[in-house]
Symmetry: D2
């Protein structure tokens, strides 16, 4: 199932070594300002090779809009956009024809589908997440029109055992992008990038966590019982390959659950902006834990692996959250009489 959402729907396609990857966004209203440049800017934040601490696989990830936009506005019809794979170098992967990569899903995939694309991760490759950034960017363009006060910002909060301080309110994407780690804590981010470079040289990798903060959500957002904001956020983040844990709540929530209820419930931020599964009007706070990437130097060619995927995952997580919000906003709209 490669479609996400009930009303605002993202369908993705493409393998890491096929002709192209792409996304179809269905359900975006007509009249939303949207340009190729907007999609490109978002993809550039996820692009490989954007800094010294990411993979050396050079892919320009140039996006082309095929439908759904006319005169820089959405038409209300499905918006399709594609990115062609240019750096396929299948030769690099020839030995994978007979050999599964450790820590990867190759064996599982082979067992499941019998016929496998041995040229690379195929559909399990992290490259697939570029489609989500396309979808998330359309969602954000739509939300920006109807909810100008809404903001969704993610940042790297942990790399290996280096933990960042919780940033002050008012953090923006521009502030996060200031540093290649996408960590907002000036006291620790240099150490983080140093640690990532060391891992890169050692052919090793690092995990950690990303925090997400969403302000300006409409109160009550979410569809009980199975379409609760909390449940759909979980599905959205759980669908991202490297994520291995999700917490709804403030950054120190896992420590707080040891407290008795009388203490736990005495602080309003304890709900992370979600009560009864719905948005309660406070900022929504999330934490996603990442395992270290499985591709280590011994299995990759010429630095073509990400020692730490999180700096590039920041826009992916923002996109997944924005897709959930856009879909739930429409489900909430649906019950209001407006015609």
């Amino acid at each position: 199932m490669n479609t996400f959402g009930v009303l605002f729907r993202l369908t993705t396609f493409g393998e890491s070594h096929g002709p192209a990857l792409g996304a179809v966004i269905d359900g975006c209203p007509a009249g939303v300002p949207l340009t190729t440049a907007m999609l490109q800017a978002a993809l550039d934040r996820r692009r490989p090779g954007q800094s010294a601490i990411t993979t050396a696989r050079a892919e320009p990830d140039q996006v082309e809009i095929l439908s759904g936009v006319f005169e820089d506005k959405t038409l209300g019809t499905p918006l399709a956009a594609i990115v062609r794979n240019t750096n396929q170098r299948s030769g690099d992967y020839e030995k994978l024809k007979t050999q599964d990569r450790p820590g990867h899903a190759d064996a599982v995939w082979r067992e499941r589908y019998k016929h496998r694309d041995h040229r690379g991760g195929g559909r399990t490759s992290g490259r697939e997440t570029l489609c989500r950034v396309i979808g998330g960017t359309v969602a954000e363009a739509y939300l920006a029109r109807d909810f100008p006060q809404l903001s969704t910002v993610a940042w790297v909060s942990q790399v290996g055992n280096l933990v960042a301080e919780v940033p002050a309110p008012g953090l923006t994407r521009a502030m996060v992008d200031e540093h290649p780690t996408r960590c907002a804590d000036r006291a620790v981010r240099e150490a983080m990038s140093q640690r990532i470079l060391e891992a890169k040289e050692a052919g090793d990798s690092l995990g950690g966590s990303i925090d997400i903060r969403v302000e300006g959500l409409p109160v009550g957002l979410g569809e009980p019982i199975f379409g609760k904001l909390k449940a759909l956020i979980a599905q959205a983040l759980g669908s991202v390959g490297a994520i291995t844990g999700v917490v709804w709540g403030p950054p120190d929530l896992l420590a707080r659950i040891e407290q008795p209820g009388s203490v736990f419930h005495s602080r309003k931020d304890t709900y992370g902006g979600i009560q009864g599964g719905l948005a309660n009007g406070e900022p929504m706070q999330l934490r996603a834990f990442f395992k270290p990437p499985a591709t280590l130097a011994e299995h990759a060619k010429g630095g073509r692996h990400d020692p730490c995927i999180m700096p590039r995952a920041v826009p992916v997580l923002e996109s997944m959250v924005s897709l959930v919000i856009a879909d739930l906003v429409q489900q909430m709209n649906a019950r209001h009489h407006t015609l």
Copy 2:
């Protein structure tokens, strides 16, 4: 959206103080052995008042099957079952007409729906989870027929700051049910129940965690990209009110992510039975974190609150996991030619 699943689908209905709660299970094959007694036994594990450490709200939670079963076998038609509310005591809740309960979603719900059932939690009440147990039990009856080697067992792994040892392989539901805490660690469970009783007397509440272990999953189970086993488990658990965090992996996973990839990936159990989002043939391991219940003594009448919800949540989590598995098994079957 009160329906869960694509093919094996659970639809739930009912408010905590309305005439009845119920479940419709659509997509269960014909010929699966199923009786009222099987549903009742499962509901009894979730029933309030089953031990000294749960709420005193006495509800027999008697189940009646309305359709879908004939001569103790499923018909392949929708199976509907209901539980009537007997202990409504609306008077208890009269003051809630004008007053929201702290820590509860009352205010959010009122803002969203304008017209609210002030008699109690309504649809946000934990009572709604009995419908999930009905659905999960049907899922398990179906899976037991087609996957006799499959087992799904959950247990309480933490209460407040009391943490249980990871149980040895081979843990069964019967072993978990031996103790009212549903903790399998004999060294700590007495202290846990003591702690819960103290909280009950103090009108306080406790959170913690539940671990889940699933053995015998077919390799490859899960539907990339958005229907991955990992993503749907996340949605399923994220839809449960009290859960505030989910981890896919062994119980100590959050400590392990500080390790470099070369260490992290050196242990096979590190994936918690999931790779590329799909089942990899190893036991699936999950951990769900619970916040302490928001209903404290000052807001409840005569002990009618659960000081610690986790012992009763164990069958709910098993049910949600079984629903995900049943649905994904059918999606996997769908692509095999069998007619």
Copy 3:
């Protein structure tokens, strides 16, 4: 798949000879006036034994609301309602255990599900349509609040070879209900009921057609491409057992398609209120063709069959159309910014 709709969703359950049939309506907004009496009045229009020309199977079809309504208004939670089967007389059907009824789907169902409910039609019985009337009535209550000018009226337009005149604009359900045939043409309806009584006595049955007219639809209703108003009406009517053909357009449309386009397109009513698959602001006109019922006297006991199903099918078709409209209205609302 026993659920219909994307946002305003009807799930039905129940076999003709099981304990009960029922419906769960999910997605109805909170605050819509709704009472048991409203549902009962709608079911009484579909009830067997309501006149001399219907089956003698006496079922009071008493409805009970289990959830979703509080103080005569919807709560925004799933509305469940059931009707218990009282006149099961399984003995009547004992011989069906080993013998399929000609013209019925018994053999097909047995082949498909192996385990079959031989007590009667089970899920293929027309009794299942009472669940649709429950759903349709909730849809109409919702639409009546938000679209007071909307009206959906169906009537019997043909019985055997007796064809009614097209009624004048302004036809109401009360006018249709004046006569047991639910035909609005005074010149032919007496002959129709006479013909039906003759068929009843002869143990025979009659088919024909029902016309539907919907006024007051919002312009543009429908979701291209696969959720067009035209497509969903087709699915809704195509799911009704006895229907064997559907025409979108004025009653004489099948004659008009022989005309060249220059003539065909010169009359505005030629589109039946639908253009590009969406409502165009004109009255929507539909015709559904019915085959004669397959249950003939030789296979039924004591007049327990309907010689002509159409008079009782009128509210079923109105309900199916209303369910489509309610769902599409919400999908249309969804893209408008209203929060």
Copy 4:
């Protein structure tokens, strides 16, 4: 909603005058033989300008596969394919910026979406149906592997008031394609093409009907109640723009419904291969009525309109039927234990 199907899913995108149209097929199993040539051959049967009796709009409709196929077999991942628009000639349509075309949905679409693509029909254009042919061809490749005995053949059965004889059993697509009308009746098809040419010269248009015959369906195919074969065929055909009526049954069914049940049910073919909404093992027979195209010479430039759309609609209808079958086959598989 531009996605069709529950498991075997087609998502379509593209406007008639945008950069490209395309289709994403999700849910096709891995290992199905599929090539660009197979898709191209299918599109060539729908292509404009393929004979003297179709529009002169010359579009090569060259297809490119972007994902989901590797070494001429499907990967089990989403298959995306696109067709670029080459003959856009927007100048032809400049006057449409301010003027709606009579008989078209332009006004409805403008009212609904406010922002409209005035370059042409956009999403309401019949060009959109090429995406369905892509989807249907993948469905047929899949079905050909698992159901080699299955055949789906459609043909033109009426043009204006010229009605063809019902063809003998054993009709193949090759036989249908022998004549540009795609009518199998040698006695009338020359007159049909003559009539179409006359309409073309007169700037007029013609409607009629297409019949469809499906042999080899597995008994029981279809998902009660709302996913019945009959209901989904209705939705599939009802989503095609020019179709204005659908009949399930033999070509003379509408005449037969005047017969009493004792006569009607005495012929086995009377059910058109569907009983209880499911396939009964007999050939499935369908008829779809078409209105004459709304684009007449006065509104089109240089013969750029189809005087009679039906010859080109034949592969579109076959595709829609094949999509329904592929999806229902998977839903039927889903409940069988096969792992």
